[in-house]
Homo-oligomer: 202 residues x 2
């Protein structure tokens, strides 16, 4: 059995969080593509509670939930750290990660609430740094990477969030991110096909 | 200015999480009771994003969100640790904490979904241990302590969750918890009065 295995699907932003973190730390792993519609025995056996990807299997033991997996990766492989070393700065990073987790996709959807949240993030969390992590991306950038899936670029441009817009462009230029980022058009085409083939389609 | 200050309200389970953690670690702190209806300048200034308690102020710097505060306390004051030292066990503890956070009060309300979740927690997270933390309470116990506020004792007894029922009794016998646990009757009376006095009352 490979030491590190990742169960994921190529359209899931949560899978990419884990992929990015492992690659940023230079960890070799086997990637197992899971089918969105037919859950494998491997997945059901390793994530019996939530039955969803991503699941990291390390030395045969499963870790579930992307946020928990990121913290685990950071603890096991401390190189190229994804959280600040200062406990107060680390708490601030976790605060913004929780903010993004709690708000979820709402943050990137058109609407008054979304605009207020984005303003807050631009001013309070990003400020005039290149990345949320400072000069290099960290766990906050990885979590906010969800923006790519939700067409964040157009939203940010249309609403003149020039700070966040520049951040998203910088983020997508980081080699590990650039080389591991699904094309939106491919994803939409795939999800449309899945939907058409599904017996629950309507 | 005192080194450690906690802004909270006496009816909030999230305030108690922080209180318990500080007391379990033997940290001296000033407690500032906040009014649920009229938010103080101190609160608004220290938690401008969410404007809610609890807020821990350490050396003048605020930390918000009870889950983030617990991790911060654990890092700053490692004595009487509230998370396992093994990274895999720590990930498991965080998994159950996230489970409890995501489900929130639903877990303790009567209904089929609640019963399934409680069964899972009893079997998978508690097992035959005295506490979620093993022989001593840890962060998972602190987070599941929400059960007290939601009348969990009756729910657990009525539905024959004898493992969780025994756990809740054991938990409430731990001196720090026992000495820092609001009476349900007092809380209900207080919340009823607040509601009656509120201009939005209906």
């Amino acid at each position: 059995m490979a030491e590190v295995k990742l169960l994921g699907t190529w359209v899931s932003p949560y899978t990419y969080r884990v992929k990015w973190a492992l690659k940023l730390k230079g960890i070799e792993f086997d990637y197992v593509e899971e089918d969105l519609c037919y859950k494998s025995d491997l997945l059901l056996q390793h994530n019996p509670i939530h039955k969803r990807v991503p699941v990291l299997i390390h030395g045969g033991k499963p870790i579930c939930e992307s946020g928990i997996i990121l913290e685990y990766i950071e603890e096991i492989w401390p190189q190229n750290s994804l959280l600040p070393s200062d406990p107060y700065e680390r708490a601030m990073a976790r605060f913004w990660i929780k903010f993004a987790e709690d708000k979820g996709p709402i943050m990137w959807m058109v609407g008054q609430e979304s605009l207020e949240m984005l303003k807050m993030i631009e001013e309070e969390a990003l400020g005039d740094k290149k990345f949320f992590g400072g000069d290099k991306i960290n766990m906050v950038d990885i979590v906010f990477g969800l923006a790519h899936w939700l067409g964040g670029e157009k939203l940010l441009e249309a609403n003149k969030f020039s700070g966040l817009h520049t951040w998203l462009q910088n983020f997508k230029q980081v080699p590990v991110i650039k080389e591991n980022l699904p094309e939106l058009d491919d994803m939409f085409a795939y999800l449309r096909r899945q939907r058409e083939m599904s017996p629950q389609s309507n």
